[in-house]
């Protein structure tokens, strides 16, 4: 393979002289950001289906009271893997996929800063996913401990737990390398004239996200390493008899975990900040304040972690501090919401699928943000912690938030990626069905939580029956709707009306200056930005 280049026109010049691997090997060996971006997106969707099927197992079991289909152990394993796979396998890789495809196009770079490392970041995901899925087939099954992997329950589990721990390690390596690549690309490879404050907001959000990833993934690695040692090497990090404390794990985990939820949310903000101005035909309102707000969210996200731990018995001063700090996050997030609405105001709006998903995002994410605010109040959280209210909260911000934004992003850039327009009618149908079924599934969970139904239980008291049934019906509807999405995407790849270089009249940015589909190599000599 690529031998040491001894001549000056190394680099891209290469593929003219060397035979380019084709077929499967093309994907295994590729150093092209567009190939890698596509792989990320496909991997993410596959994982979404796997995690989604697990959610359906959960919802099927919860369709009515009593144990119907699965044993409690297996139910717990489904909950755990569903959470881990959706967070680390579906949502995070989806946005790294967008970053790979779009950031070089948006800032006028020829590729990512480290093309080989980029390949490796992606190709670490399949082994990690394999480990997660394999854990199910181990004796005793996977770890039924929740995606938060709290000890001492996680020290009790069988060999499947070790699979999860190592999967988390590998996922962590992958995201750290991916993020270093993104930060470096953004900081060092902008085309001449593309100052930081001229960058599309999507790049800004990824710059900030990547910083969060680099800061907190190692902390998660440390946390699960301590579990591993407690499990196998006789350490006492989380064991009171040895002077440790199970709650120590929770602190370390949530020091990672809270920034993690913004790692999921912030790139979604970025995608929406591209789409809303494009379909409002009006520049983004308050670009600079958006940048500052996003940075504030990132900084604040480091100092609020213990709002997940109000009931662990921390001192009251701690509870109050974490409550105030958590409430503060509503301010910069609010600024973002207001800026988006101001962008819409007096625009010239049209409602293609990307815009619909962005508006859905705006509406439902804010709803989820408000339920977050309800949870931030310590006294109320003591009631709602570990109930379905929390489940409702985070599906609003993660499914209607991050996932909707990802759907919007796919529709927005699909013409650029494939050179074809997608089927607008079906895409709109996808949106409306998703919107309806999403709310049927998750809105009622607020009521379940308020009434006191704990999360992570396979069976429940009859008083919760009605809403659970509604929720389960919604979940199956939502899941089936996603097959429609798959169909629209495949149909668009296979063919469809030819897409112009700039298919959206209101869109701005360098990515729309290259033809559709984007050529394999773009901006080999950087464009100059005025």
């Amino acid at each position: 393979m690529a031998s040491i280049p001894g001549h000056a026109d190394a680099g891209h010049g290469h593929e003219h002289e060397h035979h380019h691997p084709t077929g499967f090997m093309r994907w295994v060996t590729t150093t092209n950001h567009k190939d890698i971006g596509s792989m990320y997106l496909w991997f993410s969707f596959a994982m979404f289906l796997v995690g989604g099927v697990m959610a359906l197992v959960i919802r099927a079991e919860l369709f009515k009271p009593g144990l119907q289909f699965v044993e409690p152990e297996f139910f717990n394993q489904m909950t755990t893997l569903h959470g881990l796979i959706m967070v680390f396998g579906a949502i995070m890789p989806a946005f790294v996929g967008f970053a790979n495809w779009q950031i070089p196009l948006m800032i006028g770079a020829s590729d990512m800063a480290f093309a080989r490392m980029n390949n490796w970041s992606f190709w670490l995901l399949p082994p990690a996913g394999t480990l997660l899925v394999l854990s199910l087939f181990m004796p005793g099954g996977s770890g039924g401990v929740g995606w938060t992997l709290y000890p001492p329950l996680s020290t009790q589990m069988g060999i499947g737990m070790d699979f999860m721990i190592f999967a988390v390690h590998i996922l962590g390596m992958s995201s750290i390398m991916g993020s270093i690549n993104i930060v470096t690309t953004i900081l060092n490879m902008r085309a001449p004239g593309m100052t930081l404050m001229k960058m599309p907001l999507f790049c800004w959000t990824w710059l900030i996200t990547a910083y969060l990833v680099i800061a907190v993934m190692p902390v998660l690695a440390g946390a699960v390493t301590m579990i591993l040692c407690d499990r196998h090497f006789g350490t006492s990090f989380f064991n009171a008899a040895g002077g440790g404390d199970p709650v120590l794990y929770q602190h370390v985990f949530w020091f990672f975990g809270h920034p993690e939820v913004y790692i999921i949310a912030i790139p979604a903000f970025g995608v929406v900040s591209q789409i809303i101005p494009a379909f409002s035909r009006k520049p983004l309102f308050g670009y600079a304040s958006m940048v500052y707000a996003t940075s504030s969210i990132a900084i604040l996200s480091f100092i609020v972690w213990a709002h997940h731990m109000y009931t662990t018995g921390m001192p009251v001063a701690g509870q109050l501090y974490f409550m105030y700090a958590t409430m503060l996050i509503a301010i910069p997030t609010g600024v973002k919401v207001f800026n988006w609405v101001a962008t819409l105001y007096r625009g010239s709006l049209s409602f293609e699928a990307p815009m619909l998903f962005s508006l859905g995002f705006l509406f439902l994410f804010t709803l989820g943000g408000f339920s977050g605010l309800v949870l931030s109040m310590t006294a109320v959280d003591v009631q709602l912690h570990d109930t379905y209210y929390v489940v409702a909260h985070f599906h609003y911000v993660m499914v209607a938030g991050a996932l909707f934004s990802a759907f919007g992003g796919v529709y927005y850039w699909l013409p650029k990626w494939t050179g074809h327009m997608y089927d607008e009618g079906l895409a709109k149908l996808h949106f409306w069905l998703s919107l309806i079924f999403f709310n049927v599934t998750f809105f009622v969970q607020h009521f379940l939580g308020l009434a006191g139904m704990p999360r992570r239980i396979p069976d429940y008291a009859p008083q919760f029956a009605e809403f659970n049934m509604i929720s389960s019906i919604g979940a199956f509807g939502f899941g089936l709707t996603q097959l429609l999405f798959l169909y629209v995407v495949i149909k668009c790849i296979k063919g469809g009306p030819k897409a112009a270089a700039k298919p959206w009249d209101g869109a701005e940015g360098l990515e729309w200056t290259v033809p559709s589909p984007a050529p394999y190599h773009t901006f080999e000599t950087p464009p100059v930005v005025k």
Binding site: G66, L67, P72, G140, Y150, L153, Q156, G158, D245, P246, V247, R281, K282, P283, F285, G286, A288, S289, T311, T312, G313, V316, Q319, M323, M327, V335, A342, L344, R346, G347, S348, L349, S350, F351, F363, T366, F370, L373, V374, A379, V380, V382, Q383, D386, V440, F443, V444, F447, L450, G452, P454, I457, Y460, A461, P462, Q463, E466, M469, I470, G506
Partner: protein
């Protein structure tokens, strides 16, 4: 926002999807609180939901206004403004004040919630996989202790029998407290983290193994209040409910008297020598409420997670090894230490396992042997 507790018309339409909608009792808000702090929490939640609802309506009124009026298909021309310092400052500063206004009452409630001083009765609640143990440590009833197990029959859970009214929320020995008294609950756990959660009393406190944590409540009215373990604690996390009976002072005193008598009657003479039959009979009960959850009533376990005791090398081997296993557990596995059982109970259960499920060692383990094995 619909958390306000009033069913929205739209929602009602969505509900029509669910079968049996006519007779179902939909509840849209928290359970009716039974303590003063609970009232505050209820109020805070409603207030916050209302505040959020108002902001929500205001923000999305603007959004929907734009969506309906400024649409391209109606010929809207885009304006070109994209900055305004004044509004940015306003929508940063105004929410700060809203949040300050909210934080104030919450702070007061939180301080009240955490003030566990001067209790009338102190009770320790210990989480086990998967049941609660209660010890009355101080105040009226001091010295009472018992274990509280789920009492819903397996048949109901597996759909072989009609589900009862309090399906999954009923126990054999409920916690009993007097009305109007400040009850302090100390939580701890023997194996993994559990959480003691009774919604109507507005308490939820994690029970962390190796640590004592506390919470408190003062019930304003008599009645039965039900809750559940609220921290994932393994396979039967969904099956370890909490049932609290709040009684009048007199009834409580009567209950205490009754318990004391029961305990005195139950107190076993540790020096008595038991015969095999007695031990097996007693052991069967102990097994059912302590061991069957994992090792199954049949003794077949659920390998590989939970080994079978039928034919187990440990059970059929030297008794010392088994006593050791039961007393100290197996660190790092679900097999917890059962030190908290009495000598008689342990002797009985060990004898039972060695002479049931096809095991037939014929050995009778005496309480004195357990006593000797405890250091």
């Amino acid at each position: 926002m619909a958390q306000t507790g009033k069913p929205l018309p739209l929602l009602a339409a969505a509900l029509a999807l669910g079968p049996g909608v006519a007779q179902a009792a939909y509840k849209f808000n928290m359970q009716e609180p039974a303590t003063a702090l609970g009232e505050q929490v209820y109020f805070l939640h409603n207030m916050m939901t209302a505040v959020c609802g108002v902001i929500f309506v205001a923000v999305f009124a603007v959004m929907f206004y734009s969506v309906f009026v400024h649409r391209k298909s109606l010929g809207a021309k885009a304006a070109n403004f994209h900055e305004n310092m004044l509004v940015e400052v306003l929508w940063t500063v105004v929410p700060v004040f809203i949040l300050l206004a909210i934080a104030w009452p919450v702070t007061k409630t939180v301080l009240g919630m955490r003030d566990t001083s001067n209790p009338d009765i102190t009770i320790k609640a210990t989480g086990y996989q998967w049941k609660w143990g209660y010890d009355y440590l101080k105040g009226e009833g001091e010295g009472i202790h018992f274990v509280s197990n789920l009492s819903t029959p397996q048949d109901q859970i597996h759909g072989k029998a009609e589900k009862g009214e309090h399906y999954l929320l009923e126990v054999d020995n409920p916690l009993v407290v007097p009305v109007g008294k400040k009850i302090r609950i100390l939580t701890t756990a023997a194996d993994v983290i559990h959480a003691w959660f009774v919604p109507a009393l507005a308490v939820k406190q994690d029970a962390v193994p190796g640590f004592i944590r506390d919470t408190h409540f003062r019930a304003d009215k008599e009645g039965v209040f039900r809750g559940q373990c609220a921290e994932l604690c393994g396979k039967d996390h969904g099956f370890m409910p909490i049932e609290v009976h709040v009684l009048s002072a007199e009834k409580y005193a009567a209950w205490v008297g009754e318990q004391k008598k029961k305990m005195a009657a139950l107190a076993d003479d540790p020096n008595k020598t038991w015969n095999l039959g007695e031990l097996k009979k007693r052991g069967e009960q102990v097994y059912a409420s302590n061991c069957a959850a994992c090792h199954q009533p049949t003794g077949k376990g659920n390998p590989p997670a939970f080994p079978a005791l039928a034919g187990s090398k440990v059970v059929l081997g030297p008794k010392q090894a088994q006593i050791e296993t039961e007393l100290n557990g197996r660190p790092g596995t679900a097999m917890a230490a059962f030190k908290h059982l009495s000598d008689v109970e342990l002797a009985a259960v060990i004898t039972y396992t060695r002479n049931a499920f096809g095991n037939a060692t014929g050995e009778a383990i005496q309480p004195s042997e357990i006593k000797a094995a405890r250091k």
